[in-house]
Subunit: 232 residues, 2 copies
DNA sequence: AGGTTCAATGTTGCATACAAGATGTAAAAC
DNA sequence: GTTTTACATCTTGTATGCAACATTGAACCT
């Protein structure tokens, strides 16, 4: 991995977004975190203009939001938004598998490789890599099925889900997730797309169930919640 | 409807995008059409900066693309991209209905209203309104089901589909589309989400089948195609 | 001490200036 | 007549400057 982002930010206009998405998927950027334009412009060695343009794109992708004259912040979805996001994701992934014809052996091999990488990251204790791979499995699935449009949509939804998981202190076990990924591939290998879809549905319900919607770590929400039952 | 966009473009940062999306859905903006920054900045009475920011968001949404130092253009998807887009849409909409529990009477009423509006636009011969409503039905469906995330995703996918339909000279009949929308609502009303999903699947397959993938109106693609069989 | 006002600072919002490259056109060369 | 070349023009790419607002902290008043 390279650290000198400065030189590439001009050549690849999407570098800034890519880095931020990757960092979010890896759990290195928390929901609610502030992303200052000046700060980023120094990190990437470009002017605020380019940073701003990247933020605009990330905003359209639902990853960051702007508070007028206060700054850019990584999204901090409310409980309702979190539900909607995961529901949308479930719809998309279940639909993707339901409407699938058949998965070729080459696809299966690619997916198995990915799960093996997940296992390795879990065993190795690399938290960032683990987080990234567990999320990226879903993007990888869409890519492997050969649809870049689906893959792109899933990248955004997955990133948002990872942020939600961080915000609501997901207790979802990495082993379990990885195992479920494997089971989905099994079903695909046997040509049973319906079963794969069902397993995906269950998997994503697990993801949601592991969230603790009570413990909102947002300062404001936390305060609201705390004060609601204190003084009345 | 108001024409003086100038005054609002400052207050509502998303006005430019909204207008472009609406125009695309209405068939008033064709695929491949050039959207000059200066041109737009004059129309909306703002500087190029704001136009550019809007274009960045539209780019992230897959509606426009930029050709370096040549300009911004409404997307002109290749046959392959068109297939992927419609496939993604089918996955999303089928999944949305499959994973749905139950549609309330209020929802059914809203949807029926929409279809009535479609019929009225068809009868009245308002091509733009007809195009808009037929596309927007799907967004409306997601909104009505109560998921803004889904609605937002569908707005983008639907817009892209409408552009694809324009590019590949879709012969899909408006009456037929409208009828299929009605049938989907019927199934939802009877609480048969599976059937609704099946009908949606069929509906979107019709949409794709109505495309004429041979007659690519893009100059470049057209030439490529023409020259491929001419001289070898 | 507690609360209020006001100035200082930091951040985004928006416009503008200029650089760099693409395109179209007309003159020049053959 | 055709091709080439040079130039004029137009468009986006990027940086920068300044204005507007939010926040913070200190001084000040009560």
């Amino acid at each position: 991995m390279r650290d000198n982002a400065e030189r590439d930010a001009h050549k690849n206009p999407h570098l800034i977004e890519d880095r931020i998405i990757h960092a979010a998927l890896s759990g290195r950027i928390a929901p609610g975190e502030r992303l200052g334009e000046k700060e980023l412009s120094e990190i990437f060695g470009v002017s605020r203009t380019l940073v701003r343009e990247a933020m605009m794109r990330l905003q359209a992708r639902g990853i960051v939001e702007v508070s007028a004259r206060r700054g850019w912040f990584v999204i901090e979805p409310s409980v309702e938004e979190a539900r909607h996001t995961i529901d949308a994701r479930r719809a998309l992934e279940v639909g993707m598998l339901v409407t699938l014809d058949r998965a070729s052996p080459a696809m299966i091999r690619t997916l198995r490789d990915h799960v093996r990488a997940e296992q390795k990251a879990i065993a190795g204790g690399d938290r960032a890599e683990r987080s990234y791979l567990l999320g990226h499995f879903h993007v990888c699935l869409a890519e492997t099925l050969g649809n870049p449009v689906l893959a792109s949509l899933l990248q955004d939804l997955t990133t948002r889900t990872v942020l939600i998981a961080a915000l609501y202190q997901s207790t979802h076990d990495a082993h379990e997730s990885c195992g479920e990924h494997g089971a989905i591939i099994d079903a695909l290998e046997q040509g049973n797309a319906t079963e794969a879809a069902r397993l995906m549905d269950v998997h994503l319900r697990h993801v949601e169930k592991a969230l603790n919607y009570r413990s909102v770590s947002s300062r404001l929400e936390h305060l609201k919640e705390a004060l609601k039952g204190s003084g009345g």
